[in-house]
Subunit: 321 residues, 2 copies
C-alpha cells in the first residue's frame, strides 16, 4: 500500500485539460493497491480515482483491463468506470507512465468477513461472471495451472528456506495438478483476485468490486475457489465450512454451479492456494529490505495448501450442503 | 507519506459509535503527513479525516493542537475542525493509539508555487496569526532557537559525514544566533510548518492550512521566515526575491510587520533554515534503511543556510521593497 509516483498539481492540471471533468479541487494519494499508485481526485464535477500504472502492470494489457471495467459498468455491474478523454481515450500518460481516471466507487471493504458477508461476496462474484459475458477481448491466465511448474522451478531453495522438505511436497502437488487439473469447465472472464480488500459493501450488501488487474479468462469455478481461500479461512488457519457454504450458496443464487464444477472445487481450491503461494514466494525473495511494501507472508498460503492437501473433501463438503 | 496503523472496519465502526456522524460508507488510507496515519472517511453525513497519532506526536500535546484547530475554525479560519463525540471529546483512541476525526478541508496544495501563490500564502499565514489571537493555551517552541545548540551537540559527526568542515560552520552560526537572536518581537501562536504541502488553494486563492502539529508560541515574524524558506527558493538553490517580496506583501496586506520585525527577517530566516537543517540531520541518521518514509535531504537546508549566511540582506531586500 503505497504511492510510488508523485504527481504535481501542474502535471495533474495538464492531464485534466484533455478531459471534460472540470478542475481539480482536491487530490490525495491513497494507500490502496500494491502494484500501482492511486490518487483520490475531486473535481468540481465529482470524485474519481487516478491510477498510475507502475512497471509491474504490463502496458499492453491495460486496454483489456480498462475495457473490461467499462464493459462491466455498462452492463450494470458495480465497479469503477474508466473515464474517456475528449478523444475517447481512457488510457493516458502522466510523468512518463500510463494512467487512467476511473469513477469513484463508494463502499467499505471488510477485514474479517462474517458468514453473511461471505454469502454476499458470492453473489457479487457470480454477478461479475454473468456481466462479463460477451466482453469481446480475452486474456490468458498467465498465473494459471499451466504456469505453476515453471514458476516453482527457480524457487526450490526459497521453499526449503521457508520450511525444510517443502520443495518436495510442492512438487508432489504440482504433479497431481498436471495429472488431474479439470478441463472443459464453464469459463469466461474471471476476477482472479477477489479478496476481501477488493470487494466493497454498503452496510450488509455487496456494493462492488475493484482492482481488475489480474482479470483473465479461466474457469468460473476457479474464481470461486480463489475466493473461498481468501474469505473462508480463520486466523488460526482452519477452514470455515459454514462461511464456504454461504459463499457458494450466494454464488449459486445468481449462477448455479454444474455438478462438474461443484465436484472440481476441492482441487481448484488446492490449486488456487498454490497460485498465491507461488507468487508470494516469488515476492518474498525478490523484495528488497527497504521496499515500501511489505510482501505477503507465503506461509499463510503454505498452510492453506496443507489444509487442502490433507482434507480435500472440506471444500466439497462446504459446497455440497 | 504512509499509513502506519491499519484500522479494520470493526474498529472504525466501534469508534464511530461514539459520534453522531452516521455510518462509514468509504474509508481509505491517504498518503498525507509524515508522522501520523491519515484516513479519508466518508459517512452518510459528510467527509472527514481520521488521524491516528503515532509515537512521534506527544500525546500530552494533542489537546493544544486539537483545541487550536477548533479555535481557528470557530474564528473563521479555514482549517479542519475536530469533531467532538457525544460526550464532547475530540481526542479518542483506536487500536490503542490516540486519534481524532476532523472535518475534510477541500483544496489543492501546489508543488512549485508561483509568485502569486506565494502572495496568497502570505495572506493565509497572517490570517492564522490573527485568528489565533486569544487562544487560551500555549505551547513552548521546543524546536526554537534556545534548543538548537543542544540538538546539534550529538550531530557533529553526522554533519561532517554530510560535508567535511560543516560542523564548525554550523557552530559559528549557532554562536551568532546566541548573541544576536531577536527578542521581544510580537508573537503568539505560529504554525511553524507552513510549507507548500500544508497549504491548500482553491484555484488561485488561499483555501486553508492543515497539519498544526508543530504549532507553538513564538514570534510571528519567525513563522514568516519559515515560510520564506519553504516557498521562495528555486530548485537550483537560489532565493527568489520576487516571490519573497510577494509573500511578505501578502502577509502585510492582513497584518503589517513592525520595523523591528522587518529588520529581524534576515536572521530569523537564517535561523529557520537551521531549525529544519537540524531536524533533517537528526532524521537522516536515525531513519532505518527499511523505513516506510524517506527522510528529507538535510543538504537542501544546508544550502539554504549557506545562502542566508553569505547574503543576509537578501530576505531584507525582499521584505523592504
Amino acid at each position: 500500500m503505497a504511492v510510488y509516483t508523485d504527481i504535481t498539481d501542474d502535471e495533474l492540471a495538464k492531464l485534466l485539460a484533455d478531459f471534460d471533468l472540470g478542475e481539480a479541487v482536491s487530490f490525495k494519494g491513497i494507500a490502496e493497491g500494491v502494484s500501482n499508485s492511486n490518487f483520490l481526485l475531486e473535481t468540481d464535477q465529482g470524485r474519481f480515482i487516478l491510477t498510475v500504472y507502475e512497471s509491474r502492470t504490463r502496458q499492453e494489457e491495460l486496454p483489456f483491463f480498462l475495457g473490461l471495467m467499462r464493459w462491466l459498468a455498462e452492463h450494470g455491474y458495480p465497479c469503477a468506470t474508466p473515464m474517456a478523454d475528449r478523444g475517447g481515450e481512457a488510457l493516458k500518460r502522466v510523468r512518463g507512465k500510463p494512467c487512467a481516471i476511473v469513477s469513484f466507487l463508494p463502499g467499505m471493504s471488510v477485514r474479517r468477513p462474517s458468514v453473511a458477508r461471505c454469502r454476499e461476496a458470492g453473489v457479487g462474484l457470480a454477478g461479475l461472471h454473468l456481466a462479463a459475458e460477451g466482453f469481446p477481448l480475452s486474456r490468458v491466465n498467465d498465473l494459471g495451472q499451466a504456469a505453476w511448474s515453471g514458476m516453482f522451478a527457480p524457487l526450490h531453495a526459497a521453499a526449503e528456506a521457508l520450511k525444510p522438505g517443502l520443495a518436495q511436497v510442492i512438487e508432489g502437488d504440482l504433479t497431481r495438478f498436471d495429472a488431474a487439473w479439470p478441463k472443459g469447465l464453464p469459463g469466461g472472464v474471471i476476477h482472479a483476485d477477489f479478496f476481501p480488500d477488493n470487494v466493497f459493501f454498503h452496510g450488509a450488501e455487496f456494493a462492488g468490486a475493484i482492482d481488475f488487474y489480474f482479470a483473465c479468462n479461466d474457469a468460473f469455478a476457479y474464481d470461486v475457489a480463489i475466493a473461498l481461500n481468501a474469505w473462508c479461512f480463520e486466523l488460526d488457519g482452519s477452514f470455515n465450512i459454514t462461511a464456504a457454504r454461504a459463499m457458494v450458496a450466494g454464488y449459486e443464487s445468481v449462477r448455479p454451479l454444474s455438478p462438474a464444477e461443484r465436484s472440481a472445487l476441492p482441487i481448484l481450491a488446492h490449486g488456487a492456494a498454490m497460485r498465491f503461494f507461488l507468487t508470494r514466494l516469488q515476492d518474498w525473495g525478490a523484495t528488497p529490505a527497504d521496499a515500501l511494501v511489505k510482501p505477503h507472508d507465503p506461509l499463510e498460503y503454505e498452510r492453506k495448501l496443507a489444509v487442502h492437501r490433507a482434507a480435500p473433501d472440506l471444500v466439497l463438503f462446504g459446497a455440497s450442503a
